[in-house]
Subunit: 411 residues, 2 copies
């Protein structure tokens, strides 16, 4: 797929870019800027070019080796440039979470989209049916987990067009998805008697489970549900199985991979999204590459200045809730940059809380590296999804801190 | 001031707007849409037209009655349309928190900006000096709280132009700002001997203090610092005092208001921002209008559908960390809308947690109002700042849910 990138001028309203006069992305990149030449300002989120290329290659190899189709979760980045890079590396399509994300991805030119969520808005349902009817290359899948949701879909269609749905299987204390085989059967039977709605597979989300063993047990139930539905004649000809956060995709491959379900040919679509940039926090500890061969590099860093050192052991940094994730771990301080000095690792200082535009760094060790007003800090983040959604344009930098590209986000 | 609004097309990438074909804001408004006519989709954040007009009027009256200048904090909304409405109601200028917010506000045409933060980036400091020199109507103020920050400013100037700074006074366990009168004197004396940097007043932030008594005691110290600096000859001719979140602006008026500081004429600039939309959470409980005459209405609501009811007493709603604030209280469920039925209040259901794109509603009362898949819920939010920054365009609706305007945000 060749994607279209919406035009974005980098101008005075583009956070992180210090550009009183608007310029295009390509003009900005062609100017040959660096991180510290005054074309960017603090705070800014950067993407490490080498790390992203490496990470895309890791999952492309993993999915190819394990025979999986890949629809990386686009909600992570909502970036057409990053969707394009993943599709160029062989991804089947893009996963999204909402109607608006589906519309965005389609406007970028993505014609295979898995909506890993229930869709209840009649406007969106009608658009899906119309798009599937009008565009032979389009494939749009979404989840159903209730009789009511199937009825909403059928009512939206009003006899016009067809929809392709995946039955979502959930787990106790989890999010959406049927909680038992009986419920799965009831929903699938209801789909079978609903004109215009076609059941094409089974989907699940294992990423919030506590460990790989729990994910393995749950995904075995998901496969069993799919086999039961095949046995009941409710899934025929071809079965789609889908799952996958960025914590247990090895287990997804083990349990849901393979060429058939109960004798019916199958395709398994992996949906991992956060792998793309990895992180210095939650995913650093939970990636499957702690269990299998391979490696991901953290690709996102926030650069922010120390704006105040008002008390001993306290430094106030100019990056806050609008700039860094705080929902799944706070940023970690990597290095200090000071004019005329080599960068040094910052030891003993932790981000302890954030305000809208500030982070509080506290030093538990009075012998820790000293921070001074005006120092530029390099912060690692935890949870890529809530980093990307705070920035509309992100400079991509190489190992020499040259700006080699700019990616955009559309949240 | 007549502001400029950056053009924004409402198109497929505009969250909340269901617009496969891009249209301008004025085209969208002229089309006479309503909340539920299919031109919007879920989740969507809406702004209540009447409530915003009322709230702007309340603070315009309050500041006029108390003789305060008003520079509402623009970080809350970063919306030129809402900046304009506040300036039209008599605000002196706009407060911002960062260099990029300053550049944005200036690009909108705001020529009086208070940066309620230290500014350490030489690029930004040079731009401020150049703008003050080039634009006679411009006034740009920012905070200093250290000798180092004054030196960074002077080094950035390199002898060219002048900067106008406010000495920031902080409090223990607070954010930035000097912690003592001795520190204040040292910084002010350093400013006095630094060419190109002019001390024009004293600033503080009282909004994170525990109660109004604590705010009153702290602000009395702030006034005392200003009087001490006047006495030392370090503030002359005219003194600016500034403070003000949205929790204690009555106390700011009481303690920092008035026409002089130590016999020198003074202006007090209030910076409250969150008052504009108020909320159903943290500010509902902490607004000064619990102590003084007046009232604010909550103006922000998120509309989202129930996408799944997978277990008894659990409903999954299609709005998550990308859509609703979760840093200072979770959303509250106001009303349920179901086709063909009158809206009903939802009792007994609480949002207990959020994922990226979902909220978990749990019912502690088995007799609580039933929620069903497809129901549209109206959610109130807590903390306006982290609501605005999740949306690029926000429909403004009237009491009949007609879309009467669209405001844009530039984070």
């Amino acid at each position: 797929m060749t994607l279209r990138f919406p035009p974005l001028l980098l101008g005075p309203t583009t956070k992180g870019f210090w550009s009183p006069t608007p310029v295009t992305r390509s003009e900005f990149v062609a100017a040959g800027h660096t991180l510290t030449d005054g074309s960017l300002t603090w705070p800014v989120l950067t993407l490490d070019a080498d790390a992203v290329v490496h990470n895309i290659g890791q999952l492309a190899s993993f999915t190819a080796d394990r025979g999986l189709a890949f629809a990386p979760h686009g909600k992570t980045t909502m970036s057409p440039e990053l969707f394009s890079a993943q599709l160029d590396a062989g991804a089947w399509g893009i996963t999204v979470a909402t109607g608006n994300q589906l519309l965005s991805a389609h406007s970028f030119g993505v014609h295979r989209v898995l909506v890993a969520n229930e869709v209840l808005d009649p406007t969106v349902l009608r658009w899906i049916a119309a798009t599937l009817a009008a565009e032979p290359s389009a494939d749009i899948l979404f989840h159903v987990d209730s009789v009511a949701a199937v009825d909403v879909a059928a009512a939206a269609l009003a006899g016009e067009g067809r929809l392709r749905v995946l039955l979502e299987v959930g787990h106790e204390a989890g999010r959406s998805g049927v909680r038992s085989g009986d419920q799965a059967l009831a929903v699938a039977q209801h789909v079978a008697r609903t004109p215009g709605v076609d059941l094409v597979g089974v989907s699940a989300y294992e990423g919030a489970l506590v460990d790989a063993d729990a994910a393995r047990a749950f995904l075995a139930e998901v496969r069993a549900v799919a086999e039961m539905l095949v046995g009941a004649g409710l899934l025929q000809d071809h079965v789609i199985l889908s799952a996958g956060g960025s914590a247990y995709f090895d287990v997804v491959a083990d349990v849901l991979g393979g060429a058939d379900v109960g004798g019916v040919p199958s395709t398994t679509i992996l949906r991992s999204g956060a792998y793309l940039t990895h992180d210095h926090g939650t995913y650093a500890g939970s990636t499957p590459f702690t269990r299998i061969a391979g490696h991901l590099y953290p690709a996102l860093r926030v650069w922010a200045q120390v704006v105040s050192t008002p008390e001993d052991g306290l430094a106030i940094v100019g990056a806050g809730k609008r700039d860094v994730p705080y929902d799944s771990g706070l940023p970690v301080v990597l290095r200090r940059h000071r004019a005329g000095q080599a960068p040094v690792a910052v030891v003993g200082w932790d981000v302890t809380r954030t305000n809208d535009q500030h982070a509080y760094l506290e030093c538990g060790d009075p012998l820790g590296t000293a921070l001074a007003v005006g120092d530029l800090l390099e912060l690692g983040i935890s949870h890529p999804c809530t980093a990307f959604d705070k920035w509309r344009a992100i400079p991509v930098i190489d190992a020499e801190q040259r700006v080699v590209d700019v990616v955009t986000t559309w949240f």
